[in-house]
């Protein structure tokens, strides 16, 4: 023990030191009292909240039905297997050796997943999605040996008709990280499925439904002792205007075509009855994680199978545009129905250029009706020169060309209508000759159209009104009540009805006349109005076109078909349309139609005769 003055001093100093330390410890004790005694209840509540967890419950996605309520896209159960890290901690290696072969996954995948997880040890860690049912059966039989292994049922897309309508239906795909950035606000999470194209994308909001939640209270070991559930809301079913039977006929007919598209529509309402694009793809490959090689293959394919040619493919209309030239000439009084030009000998010299007709020997002298029937280029070259580009484009726009049709699957191409302005923009002022008007008159030049625009065009020729094509007929809630889609009213086009009747007469002759080019689209007992076309293009043989409707005097179905590089319209496209016309009118089943008039049977064409 220290003595004397030094000792006293050090005793004082040790007291100061101990005093300071004791003060700090006292503050700690005080704070401990505040936390553990005074505010204990508050913190106990917070700890209990921590022992609650919220697990999202997926909503079942709405189905997609055809117009008669038959399921085209349904759902199927899919099993996802997971492990709870906290429960398998000790014997993860044994589990791996037993369970990996059952699942058919490489060894040590489970090990590395479990060891890589340091937080949320009581949450299931996903091991395998879309597990084969045999593995689930094994899991059920060996429950006691496989502690910590869980599985849950998820809902996945089912396509009972395989590739049928792949482009119009679209596909769903797991959200990518990049998409999540923009969609997190809408309640999406990583691993959620989202419609990526077609109907699945357009009506994503209705189809996805609303996620539910399960609140689980867990013990210290993470075992669920109590759970409360807020049920998810099932997605709305979308009933389409598509007629399954017609779609099947269309798919079968288009199977002979390598690349092309078909749109069939009810010209009175704009209800799309069938839509096909070739080549196609299998939407089922997107239902689970898409292997990179599959994705690359689909994207790199030069034929572009994911590309919906019905709404996005743009083609020169070829001879199917001749009705526009004829109407432009007739309504501007350039000609009347009796006017004939210089007879067709197979060639025409214009400036220093030679323009030829598809029929090498020539058609002789024709009026406009027979020129349409025979699809004589020489007649239309001479007509085009007299009509001029701008009057032509004005008429083409009346039929909705050059702008989106408003169909409810996106995206849609606008196409191009040839005009002085369009040529100036494309080729530069003074860089193109008057001869372009001749090309445009037969549907060549810079004009580009999509198949869906063409079906609207030919419908308008038949009915005198332009409609908005659409695919959704109604939305059916979980309780079965249907909310019908109100189609926008048909818009009458500004063309004299008598003039349209003349054109219609010419289009009937295309099917029935001696020189007609679409005999193979005939339907026994009905008059078919149509027009073939062969769109010349730099990629080889001409694109084979057909547009038409039936019955001619009161159309119930209009079709536009294009087969890329397939040759003459009369050989390839017209027979495909014919198959569809016959299926619509002759097969027993009739498309359901809420309000439209019944189909007129038979009947002459007297009224259409000039």
């Amino acid at each position: 023990m220290l003595n004397g003055e030094y000792g006293t001093q050090q005793r004082r100093r040790s007291a100061v030191l101990m005093g300071a330390i004791a003060l700090a410890f006292f503050v700690i004790a005080l704070k401990l009292y505040m936390l553990q005694i005074a505010h204990h209840d508050e913190y106990r509540t917070r700890a209990e909240q921590n022992a609650m967890r919220t697990v999202p419950v997926e909503a079942v996605r709405g189905r997609i039905l055809d117009r008669n309520g038959r399921i085209i896209v349904g759902n199927r159960p899919a099993y996802t297997v997971g492990v709870i890290p906290a429960e398998v901690a000790e014997d993860v290696e044994r589990l791996d050796s037993v369970f990996a072969p059952v699942l058919g996954i490489p060894r040590l995948v489970i090990c590395s997943k479990v060891r890589g997880q340091h937080r949320r040890l009581h949450r299931p860690l996903e091991v395998m999605r879309d597990t084969p049912f045999s593995a689930i059966a094994y899991l059920e039989e060996h429950r006691h040996e496989l502690r910590g292994v869980v599985y849950f049922v998820e809902s996945r897309r089912r396509y009972p008709y395989g590739r049928l309508g792949a482009h119009l239906l679209g596909y769903v795909r797991e959200l990518r990280e990049s998409q999540l950035v923009t969609s997190r606000d809408q309640g999406y999470a990583l691993g959620d499925f989202m419609g990526q194209s077609g109907i699945e994308a357009t009506y994503e909001e209705r189809l996805r439904g609303q996620k539910g939640e399960e609140y689980q209270e867990v013990t210290v070991s993470g075992r669920v002792v109590e759970s409360l559930r807020r049920e998810p809301v099932r997605g709305t079913d979308v009933r389409l205007t598509i007629d399954l039977h017609l779609q099947q006929v269309a798919e079968a007919a288009m199977d002979t075509v390598k690349r092309g598209a078909l749109v069939a529509m009810d010209p009175r309402s704009g209800e799309i009855l069938a839509m096909v694009s070739r080549p196609t793809f299998d939407p089922d490959v997107f239902s689970f994680v898409v292997p990179p090689e599959v994705w690359r293959q689909l994207n790199d394919d030069e034929e572009r199978p994911l590309f919906n040619r019905a709404t996005m493919g743009t083609y020169p209309p070829g001879s199917t545009a001749k009705m526009i030239t004829a109407i432009a000439a007739l309504e501007n009084d350039v000609i009347d129905t009796n006017t004939t030009f210089r007879p067709c000998t197979g060639t025409l010299w214009y400036g220093n250029r030679r323009y030829s007709c598809w029929a090498g020997k020539g058609h002789g002298a024709l009026n406009v009706i027979h020129a349409i029937e025979a699809s004589c280029n020489i007649f239309f070259f001479q007509l085009g020169d007299r009509v001029g580009l701008d009057r032509w484009s004005e008429t083409a726009r009346k039929f909705g060309l050059g702008e989106p049709t408003g169909v409810d699957i996106l995206p849609e191409d606008n196409g191009i209508v040839a005009s002085t302005e369009a040529y100036d923009r494309r080729l530069g002022r003074w860089r193109w000759g008057r001869g372009e008007a001749l090309n445009v008159a037969i549907g060549q030049g810079i004009t580009l159209v999509t198949p869906v625009q063409m079906v609207c065009y030919v419908s308008a020729l038949g009915t005198g009104s332009l409609v908005t094509p659409h695919l959704a007929a109604g939305f059916i809630d979980a309780d079965g009540t249907e909310q019908l889609v109100q189609p926008s009213d048909p818009k009458a086009i500004e063309v004299e009805p008598e003039l349209l009747a003349t054109i219609r007469h010419a289009m009937i002759l295309v099917t029935e006349g001696a020189r007609g080019t679409a005999h193979r689209s005939r339907v026994p007992g009905y008059h078919v109005a149509g027009k073939t076309g062969t769109a010349e293009n730099p990629h080889g043989e001409g694109h084979s076109w057909y547009v038409g409707y039936v019955p001619a005097e009161d159309p119930v179905i209009a079709v536009a078909v294009i087969c890329e590089n397939a040759g003459h319209g009369s050989d390839v496209a017209a027979p495909i349309a014919g198959a569809l016309f016959r299926a619509r009118l002759l097969d027993g089943e009739e498309p359901r139609n809420a309000e439209g008039p019944q189909i007129a049977q038979g009947g002459g064409i007297g009224s259409a005769e000039p």
Binding site: M1, L2, Q9, Q10, R11, R13, S14, V16, L17, M18, I21, A22, A24, F25, V27, I28, A29, K31, L32, Y33, L35, Q36, I37, H39, H40, E42, Y43, R44, R46, A47, E48, N50, A51, P85, A86, A89, E90, V92, V114, R115, H118, R119, R120, L121, H122, V218, T219, V220, S221, G222
Partner: protein
């Protein structure tokens, strides 16, 4: 020296030894919870490893107990030099861990040189200050002691480990005070530190500090020259503190920000403080029971085996448990400082003050952190937290204190 009955009966400091034993047991119980059957697999087995560290610490304590005081006096500067060398090695070959380089890997052993350095500093400072010719009234002697402290601090600042560097200063101040530093000089030393902390906290705490500072100046009435110096230095600190802020490592900034407003960052660093408070608060009077703490077991608490082990004890053993641990720590510190007062050996006296201050500071900072009273610094709780270097260092230090008790009257 032969151990006699008198040694064990009267001179051996049983309260100190038992307090240390109690803390080791408490730490091990906490560790069993933190690494229990339901916790993460990577931590299982740490409890048995800690037993090995405790055994090593016990051996270190026996070695300290066995060798005479003059032996430690003789090699004080050598120990200091070796620990400095280890710190330098850590600078160049340190392994990255949790955002800071603290570990020196020597074959299978990972050494936290900054822990060993504390003992080196205490021994070196004690030998320097024990010299009768050294007096704190002379500036050169004071600066000498400061230099001994700042060399390892500078090496640790480089690593960077702010908390451990603070421990070195917390060892230095009480020791120079013990060596006879005047109250006025102590005031001059402590005030700038308080000033800097207040300036970090924001304008309002700093204005409060200024008021208190002026009040104290009037109370103490230091000589005019000192007063001017104090005012100038403190104003400068108040102004340049925000500038220093910009030069801190981002994780250091985050820790300080989080300390002042944990709720602002509830998912980041603030998460630790909030969950720790919830764990301790939910423990209540008697706690949830061994391995029954949901905060611990559901892995809401971070670093349960090291930095936040006190929170595990608070959740599972309640107010009773935490008060027991705090009480044992206070007992340990008190017996150590008392030993510094009763021993006749001047060197031993300084060593005790240094060790007592070190244990007290680390305890207050670590527990304060789990309670939200202090920023998150990563300082272990002596004898309770898991860790080899720290446990062995404290074990050895307590061995020295017990040894002084046996030999102090010689």
């Amino acid at each position: 020296m032969a151990l006699t009955a008198r040694h064990l009966g009267e001179l051996f400091d049983w309260p100190l030894a038992l307090a240390a034993l109690g803390l080791v047991v408490a730490g091990w119980v906490g560790l069993l919870s933190a690494t229990g059957a339901t916790a993460a697999s990577r931590m299982q087995g740490l409890a048995s490893v800690q037993l090995l560290w405790v055994a090593f610490a016990f051996c270190a304590a026996l070695a300290a107990l066995w060798l005479p005081v003059r032996f430690w006096y003789g090699i004080a500067y050598i120990v200091y030099g070796v620990t400095l060398a280890l710190l330098v090695l850590t600078l160049f070959y340190g392994a990255r861990w949790m955002g800071a380089e603290r570990w020196l890997v020597l074959g299978p052993i990972r050494i936290q040189a900054s822990e060993l350095g504390k003992v080196g500093l205490i021994l070196a400072l004690s030998r320097y200050l024990a010299n009768h010719k050294v007096t704190m009234t002379r500036l050169s002697h004071f600066l000498g002691a400061l230099a001994i402290t700042l060399v390892p601090v500078a090496l640790i600042r480089q690593q960077p480990d702010l908390g451990t560097a603070a421990v070195y200063l917390a060892i230095f101040l009480p020791m120079v005070y013990w060596a006879g530093l005047k109250n006025l000089h102590l005031f001059v030393l402590v005030v700038p530190i308080v000033n800097a902390i207040c300036a970090f906290a924001g304008w309002i705490p700093w204005m409060a500090f200024c008021l208190a500072f002026v009040g104290l100046l009037f109370l103490i009435r230091p000589p005019v020259l000192w007063t001017v110096l104090l005012v100038v230095v403190n104003l400068t600190i108040g102004i340049i503190t925000p500038a220093i802020w910009d030069r801190l490592e981002p994780f250091q900034q985050r820790r300080i920000q989080t300390f002042f407003s944990p709720e602002k960052d509830p998912l980041g660093a603030g998460y630790q403080i909030i969950q720790s408070q919830v764990a301790i608060g939910s423990g209540g009077m008697t706690g949830k029971g061994f391995q029954q703490g949901s905060q611990t077991q559901l892995a809401y608490l971070p670093e349960t085996h090291t930095d936040f082990i006190f929170a595990v004890l608070g959740e599972e053993w309640g107010f009773v448990g935490t008060l027991a641990v705090v009480g044992l720590l206070l007992l340990l510190v008190w017996r150590t400082i008392r030993m510094g007062l009763v021993t006749n050996n001047r060197f031993a006296s300084f060593v005790c003050i240094g060790i007592g201050s070190m244990i007290a500071f680390q305890s207050v900072v670590n527990i304060g952190m789990t309670l939200g009273l202090m920023p998150v610094t990563g300082l272990p709780l002596p004898l309770v937290s898991y860790g080899g270097s720290a446990t062995i260092t404290v074990g050895f230090a307590l061995g020295l204190v017990l040894s002084f008790g046996l030999r102090g009257y010689e």
